[in-house]
């Protein structure tokens, strides 16, 4: 049960973009150099974020990418769901999963629902801004 490199790179990419943002777009090459990630691979990942509306692209010389939303409006959950597909620990608690026939006698359904909620509570309450500010207690107000 691991987060893929795609998801991890996407978060570092966006944190880099947020930290180095101005009016000027940031190129893949710049991010690739700073983060030591293959530019070609980053290209594929940022394309997902672009299609999902999290970043905006500018073509041509001096082109690159800009955040489309504010860093504090982009949650980790949004990013990971774009790159990982879903963050549910088992398929039967995925958002639009067909209701399981054996749910009424399944010994593990409450476990999975509880685990799913615990994961969502974390990733949906931490933003890219929190990552940039390296805040150890980011999102904690939601866990009281």
């Amino acid at each position: 049960m691991k987060i893929s490199t795609k998801g991890r790179y996407a978060l570092r990419l966006l944190a880099d973009l947020a930290a180095n943002s101005s009016d000027k777009p940031v190129s893949i090459k710049d991010i690739s150099t700073r983060q030591h990630i293959s530019d070609k691979y980053l290209e594929q990942i940022i394309s997902l974020l672009n299609n999902a509306g999290l970043v905006r692209s500018v073509r041509g010389p001096q082109g690159g990418y800009l955040l489309r939303k504010k860093a504090n409006e982009i949650t980790v959950g949004m990013v990971l769901r774009v790159t990982e597909g879903t963050m549910s620990p088992v398929s039967c608690v995925e958002p639009d999963a067909p209701p399981c026939e054996h749910m009424d006698q399944c010994p593990t359904i409450y476990l999975w629902k509880k685990l799913d909620k615990a994961i969502c509570d974390v990733i949906d309450n931490i933003t890219i801004e929190d990552l940039v500010n390296e805040r150890p207690n980011a999102g904690d107000e939601y866990f009281i």
Copy 2:
């Protein structure tokens, strides 16, 4: 980020064993029939649980498996760590991971630590007994 079938089967296996336990061992064939899981695959899984000391085996006719601990002393976390290897969402927060060189400037380390803790809080506070009793609120006392 998914729990493998191995982990899910192991939990169902142990819940079945706990629910059908007596002084007599339960054979793989019985569990396989009740749970509709390949007996040969179950064999491999229960072997892991045996080596980990969670169950005890009895060979020969009328043989099978017994829980080695009480059902309320076996947590979901114990089981999943035997079958999945580790439940950390990224390798750099694994229990005995070498300290990351870039940790002091890593924007995501607090996120991963927080996510790891959230997962552990669930799986380490729900037991096989809770699964058998189908308790929707099992482990909740730890999340107050």
